[in-house]
């Protein structure tokens, strides 16, 4: 009866005293214990701390306290600093590092009473789309343990798909929430850059990084964004724009909605992916939305732009890891991190800056303008999240641009700082999840959540869960 609880369902059980947070937390810790040998979604399991937090939550519940996540077990990607709990970003450089402070996002979740059961696995430093570049071993996809979960938030999406937690928190630079959400069959929201604070998140591409929720339903995604969104004095790139109540517009009719689709986003997709997403768009059309063909910039250029900008920002961000103030020496960097740091260093080095970095920043402007033009004709853009379903374990090995290829359809919108959400929209002939993404203009989270929720309400794909 506890299977696949949503936040609202879990809260109801807690509020009606049918279950204590301690019991609920034990239920998930038992599942984690049972499932981890198969899927390895976690780097660190914080069972003792979680049970303490749950006890505290129970006390508050008995006193009638109302907090948005009071007593709800969640997981957090291992690139968020958690005070007193090892934080590694899945890299051996940070093995043993115990942060003396909480990331703003972690702080907000704790203030709302969430029970953190552990830190989830990821591609080391979030460099990748497979979770296979983790220095602590790959996470496996709960739908098929011979497949990759995607990445870099693959541990987070696997922990939600396998129902090891109610929800998880991930981060996306370009695809790291949406792509693993698609491969694991869960809802993943990448907010507008600047909507959610990056303070205390181990930096990857600072002009791109966006933390966001990973959930089983769209409603939960909106509910968690309400907690995470807002200006933070510790992150000067957070927006001063007012935070809306993202749950308010979930049930608006979409009969006047104009949806843009770009043929280029379907061209390189597996047939099952293409068919499912086209079917999903038809569902929205039946609800009254108008489908308009648009011509977006070839996403292949976004790959090249992203490759340069991201590697350049990585080389700068990872220069701080010297093993002096914290962490271990630079000899502990894994292969992927070394490759990215060196490429970025080269692209920024004297004599090459204009050719690579400056050129990429100019094409970035063109991609942003291209989306602006598109959004003057349509309200949202819909397409497949990933060109394929989950690939076999080992698929990323020896491919220096594996991540870029798996993320070809999410990179353009990330470069432009736009919000996007993955919603499960089908299963392939091999019983692997397929995801569709809904992209909107900057700060249009309410709208894309509305569209996603209308789709979810009229379909059953979100109810499918892996048999694990």
């Amino acid at each position: 009866m506890l299977n696949n609880l949503t936040i609202a369902q879990a809260k109801k059980l807690l509020d009606q005293k049918k279950l204590s947070s301690s019991e609920l937390t034990k239920f998930y810790l038992d599942r984690i214990k049972k499932l981890e040998p198969k899927i390895s979604a976690f780097v660190t399991i914080t069972d003792k701390e979680a049970l303490k937090q749950a006890e505290k939550a129970d006390k508050l519940i008995s006193q009638g306290a109302k907090k948005l996540l009071l007593g709800i077990p969640i997981s957090i990607k291992d690139n968020f600093n958690t005070k007193g709990v090892q934080t590694t970003a899945s890299s051996k450089v940070l093995e043993g590092y115990i942060p003396p402070y909480d990331a703003t996002v972690v702080n907000l979740l704790k203030e709302e009473g969430a029970v953190i059961v552990g830190k989830t696995n990821m591609d080391a430093w979030a460099h990748g789309s497979s979770t296979e570049t983790s220095d602590f071993g790959s996470t496996k996809n709960p739908w098929n343990i011979k497949r990759l979960p995607g990445g870099s938030s693959g541990g987070s999406t696997a922990s939600v798909a396998a129902d090891e937690v109610v929800i998880s928190i991930g981060s996306e630079t370009a695809g790291s929430i949406r792509q693993p959400a698609a491969w694991c069959g869960v809802v993943g929201l990448k907010p507008t850059y600047g909507r959610v604070s990056r303070y205390g998140v181990i930096a990857m591409g600072s002009s791109l990084d966006s933390p966001g929720p990973i959930t089983k339903t769209v409603e939960e995604s909106a509910f968690v964004l309400n907690i995470l969104a807002g200006q933070d004095k510790f992150d000067a790139t957070t927006s001063p724009k007012n935070v809306e109540d993202y749950t308010k517009n979930l049930n608006q009719k979409i009969s006047d909605l104009k949806i843009g689709i770009s043929k280029r986003y379907f061209d390189q997709c597996e047939k099952d992916v293409k068919d499912s997403v086209m079917q999903a768009i038809k569902v929205l059309e039946k609800l009254g939305a108008k489908i308009i063909e648009i011509d977006l910039f070839d996403p292949q250029y976004a790959i090249a732009v992203y490759t340069i900008i991201q590697r350049a920002e990585v080389s700068s961000n990872l220069a701080r890891y010297d093993g002096i103030r914290y962490g271990n020496g630079r000899d502990k960097f894994g292969e992927e991190a070394k490759r990215r740091i060196m490429l970025g260093t080269y692209a920024l080095s004297a004599g090459y800056y204009d050719q690579y970095y400056n050129k990429a920043q100019k094409v970035r402007t063109l991609i942003i303008n291209d989306f602006k033009k598109a959004f003057s004709q349509v309200d949202v853009i819909i397409g497949p999240t990933s060109p394929s379903t989950a690939l076999p374990l080992g698929a990323s090995k020896g491919h220096p641009m594996f991540g870029e290829m798996a993320d070809v359809l999410v990179e353009p919108s990330s470069i432009a700082g736009l919000p996007g959400i993955n919603v499960p929209c089908g299963l392939s002939s091999e019983n692997l999840p397929i995801g569709m993404q809904i992209i909107g203009p900057q700060f249009s989270e309410s709208l894309i959540l509305n569209v996603a929720n209308q789709f979810e309400k009229n379909t059953d794909f979100h109810k499918a869960s892996p048999n694990i």
Binding site: Y97, I98, P100, Y101, Y193, G194, S207, K233, A236, T237, S239, P240, Q300, Y301, I303, A304, V305, T307, I308, S315, A319, D322, G323, I324, R325, Y326, G327, R330, D331, F333, K338, R339, I341, M342, L343, G344, T345, Y346, S349, Y356, N358, K359, A360, Q361, K362, V363, R364, T365, L366, I368, P400, M401, A416, G417, Q442
Partner: protein, 97 residues
């Protein structure tokens, strides 16, 4: 398409990444492969385009210059492997004359 040449020793030194000699040729090849891929950007006309370095359009974000609670000295040093009298101890970086 131009030929990309990359001096892996020079790049590794700039990046402060220690490399084993057997890694050098693999990385060299892979980095060159990636650089050839990104040459695609040369196909895009950008003569009259300004570069974008950030997407928030926020500028000159400032705050009041007032002190607020921060990490204690103990907390700030808790992860360092080598401390002395409340400081972090490192090797000298300047040579004596």
């Amino acid at each position: 398409m131009s030929k990309v040449t990359l001096d892996i020793d020079h790049v590794a030194r700039l990046a402060n990444i220690p490399l084993q000699s057997n890694e050098k040729s693999t990385f060299s090849k892979q980095l060159e492969e990636t650089l050839i891929y990104v040459e695609k950007l040369e196909e895009v006309e950008t003569k009259n385009t300004e570069p974008t370095s950030q997407v928030t359009n926020l500028e000159n974000v400032t705050r009041e210059d007032v002190a607020s609670p921060s990490l204690t000295q103990e907390e700030a040093l808790q992860n360092s492997k080598s401390t002395y009298n409340g400081f972090i101890l490192t090797n000298a970086i300047l040579e004596e004359q």
